[in-house]
Structure formats: C-alpha cells, structure tokens
C-alpha cells in the first residue's frame, strides 16, 4: 500500500517554492507601502472634512469594502489597460499596455484594497490621540502638518500598529489570489508544481506550512516593533 503522503516529493519542492517567496513578499511590501499612503490620505480627508475629496473618499471606501478582492483584481487587470488605450487614442499618451507586467495590476488592486481597510484603522488611531496634543503643537507656532508629522503620527502609530500587523497578515495570505492573473507567487508556483506530478495535496500542505511560517515571523516582528514604538509610554518612575 502506498503511504498517504509522498514525503520525498514534498521535500523536493520546498526549494522551488522558496524561490518565489520574494514575489509574495514583494507584493506584500509594495501594497502595504502604498496602502499606508492611501489610507493616511483618506483618513485625513475624512478627519478634516475636506470638501469633495471627502465624498470621493467615502465612495472609495464603500466600494472597496463592498466588493470582493478577486473582483477588484480583475477590474484592475482588465480595466486599467482599457483606460490606458483610451487615453492613448484620445490624448496621445504613449504607453505600451502590453509592456506592463501583470504584477503592476496586482500592486494597484492590493494597494487600494488594503488602503481602504487601513484608512479606518488610521482614522481611529489619529482620533484617539488627545486633542490637546495638536493644540500644544499649534500653540508653539507649528503648522498643522508639522503637528501631525512630529506629534500625532508617532503616537497614532503606537495605537495602530497591532492592527497594521493583522492587516499585513491578511494581505500576505491574500497575495495567493495574484495567480488569478498569472502572477507566479507561492500559490501559483504550487499549482504549477502540483499539476506536474498530480500531487496537489502534498503541494498545498507544503504551501500552507510556508504561509504559516511567514505569518509567525511577521507577527513576531510586529510585536518587537510595537515595543520600540511604544517606548515613550514607559512606566512611572
């Protein structure tokens, strides 16, 4: 009788899956970076109730949180080229749509998707900071932006970091959708390897373990970072 799992095969594919871990991490890092920018911007637009932009932000948040990520990936993948073709025809933008690698559409979709979720976290974190902090900054003649950058953001970061960690872990797992538009990350590689030997179960076990491992490492890193960011909260002396 054959064993339930082909361990030899499982071990043999580990190096091949490891090779594409950078793709997964790359998508995570780029999406997280732009999501922080998008999330902070929309949070500020909503906090400061900036005209028009506020309505746009509300629409963006509602749409993004009300539609599946997979649909957003397809919209990005099929929609952006159409838009660029149109811009090319009308305004003579000289962009070769076929030259854009698929991963760019993934960056786009993930950044906006995660940005919407971060926006709420960031807004809540900023609003949790005592108003007096900003008033003190203004009272010594700092501009609102200086107050935000030097006083509010560092304190809000300490509040938001655990949430950022959770979002990032979701994001890492969601990158497995990127193969739907043929970006070969861990999940894509797994499917290819599985199809080669028709040993899907083994491949998916290996992939699951690697995702798990990555998430544990990220969790640890966030915990360490949290300690550093919260240094100022110290104990009473």
């Amino acid at each position: 009788m054959q064993p339930i799992l082909d361990f030899h095969f499982m071990v043999s594919i580990i190096p091949e899956i490891f090779k594409v871990i950078p793709v997964t991490l790359n998508i995570t890092a780029v999406a997280m970076f732009f999501a922080l920018i998008v999330g902070t911007t929309t949070a500020l637009v909503r906090i400061y109730k900036i005209l028009v932009a506020r309505q746009l932000a509300a629409f963006y948040l509602s749409f993004t949180r009300g539609t599946p990520l997979l649909v957003q990936i397809y919209l990005s993948y099929y929609g952006i080229p159409k838009f660029l073709d149109y811009a090319h025809a009308c305004y003579g933008w000289n962009i070769d749509v076929n030259g854009i690698p698929a991963i760019v559409f993934i960056y786009f979709a993930f950044s906006l998707n995660v940005g919407a979720y971060l926006s709420e976290t960031i807004r809540a974190a900023i609003q949790s900071i005592d108003r007096g902090q900003m008033e003190a900054a203004l009272s010594i003649g700092m501009t609102t932006w200086q107050g935000l950058r030097r006083i509010i953001f560092p304190q809000a970061l300490a509040v938001a970091l655990p949430s950022f960690g959770n979002t990032m872990i979701s994001l890492i797992k969601d990158t497995s959708l990127a193969f739907m538009i043929s970006v070969v990350e861990m999940m894509g590689e797994a499917k290819i390897l599985g199809a080669r030997g028709l040993e899907f179960f083994e491949v998916y076990i290996v992939v699951a373990l690697i995702y798990w491992l990555i998430c544990i490492v990220v969790e640890r890193m966030v915990a360490i970072l949290e300690k550093r960011v919260r240094h100022f909260e110290g104990g009473k002396i």
Partner: protein
C-alpha cells in the same frame, strides 16, 4: 504689549464672549477670575487662536490681527509670539522633557540641534528639572509636567505667556512648585495672563485683576481695588463664595 478690542466668540448659538476689550502693558501680570463658564479660558484660547474669534482685534507688539479675516500667516505669527500653558499640561507624549522644550526651537525657530539643546537645558534648569530632562511625560508627576510645559512656553521667548488654569489639575501638594515658577517669571518682568482660581496667588502676583462673568468683563483694576474695594455685587458675591470654601 497686548491689546484686545471687542473680542466676540460664539459656539453655534451660544455667545461665550460678548465683546471683550483688554489692555496689557509690558511686564504686567494679569489675573483673570470668574466662575466656570464665564469665558475665561475661551478668551485665552482666542488670543492664541486655538479658537477663532468671530469678531474683534488682537494686537500683540507690532502685530495687529483683525480676527474675522486673519490669514494663516497671521495666525502662525500670532502663535509664535504668544505661548500657552495648558490646564492639563499637554506635553508631547512621544517626546522627553528635553525634546518637548526643544521642539519649538528646532521646528519653529529652526535653531541647530546644539543651540536648541543648550537653550532647553538652561530652561529646564530654571524650572528645576534639569535632572529629569530625559524622562517622558508619563514618568513625571503633574507638577513636573506643568513645569516642563512652562519651559516649553518660555523657549520661544513669547511676548505674552498665557496660563490656562495652570494648577487646577494638580494635586494640592504640587500646586506650590508650579506657582513658585510663575512667581519667578513675574519677578523677571514677563508679561503674562493667568486664568486662575488661586485667589491668594492672584492677589499676591497680579498687577491687574480682571473679573469675568457671562462673557463680559464685570470689573477690573489692581489687586487691592478688586479684592478689597470691590465695586460690583457680582464680584463680591463670587469672592465671598470662593473664600467660604
């Protein structure tokens, strides 16, 4: 040094300040007294433009600000020559005592790090906290935090320092150390406006006392005029109540 003309401020329909005019001469210490809700704090916050007055004129030194059409630039200028000491200290929680004092010097005055640090250390020595300069606000007592707050206000060499009930959030045994610092500043001839409930302190330190009620100045004069030769019934009533405690 400072002149206010007909400052009015409403929140929604609530009229909080109903035309306040006040002149403060250089080196004068003005104490503002009055029951809560009389608009004392709002008046101070208006001078610092933390609240935007609906109407009126603020003059500090050479800077004249017509409040209803104040530009962002004017507001920034005004804030840079006035400084506020808050009731709840409002020290920057993510910065040490030293960094709290340095912040304005670095960002607003754009001094070099060395200069800002030297100056800040001197100010912390002055308020008696040099050995605590690397502590975060969470590691300081209320009195210590408030003294850092005063050093932070002094750093920018403001023309007027505004104290918004600087001791009312403090434990009774910590009030003295903060009042002592303010007393020192008064002796140095700094121009200050202090909103306070410390009557003895007001009597002792203030060169000019203002009594406010319901958004108006009811009575003003030097300390003995207001405290001992009170003219207005409303003021008498208030002072009696306070003394009864």
């Amino acid at each position: 040094m400072l002149q206010l003309q007909n400052i009015c401020k409403s929140f929604h329909r609530m009229e909080v300040l109903k035309g306040i005019s006040l002149t403060v001469k250089p080196g004068e210490v003005v104490a503002i007294l009055g029951p809560s809700g009389s608009g004392k704090s709002t008046l101070l916050r208006c001078i610092n433009f933390l609240e935007r007055p609906n109407h009126g004129l603020i003059q500090v030194g050479d800077l004249v600000v017509q409040t209803e059409k104040a530009t962002n630039h004017e507001i920034l200028q005004l804030r840079r020559i006035t400084a506020m000491v808050f009731q709840n200290y409002h020290l920057f929680k993510n910065k040490t005592a030293l960094e709290n004092v340095m912040e304005g010097l670095l960002i607003v005055k754009q001094l070099s790090r060395d200069e800002a640090q030297q100056k800040s250390v001197r100010l912390l020595e002055k308020v008696g906290l040099a050995e605590r300069m690397n502590h975060y606000p969470s590691q300081l007592s209320g009195g210590q935090q408030q003294r850092v707050g005063i050093a932070r206000a002094l750093a920018l060499e403001p023309k007027v320092i505004l104290f918004d009930e600087p001791t009312s959030a403090l434990d009774p045994e910590l009030v003295g150390e903060v009042l002592e610092v303010i007393r020192t500043l008064a002796r140095e001839g700094r121009t200050m406006i202090v909103v306070t409930h410390e009557m003895h302190f007001a009597h002792e330190v203030a060169s000019h006392v203002v009594f406010m009620d319901e958004g108006r100045i009811v009575e003003e004069g030097n300390a003995s005029e207001v405290f001992e030769h009170t003219r207005q019934e409303r003021t008498k009533h208030f002072l009696q109540k306070i003394q009864a405690i």
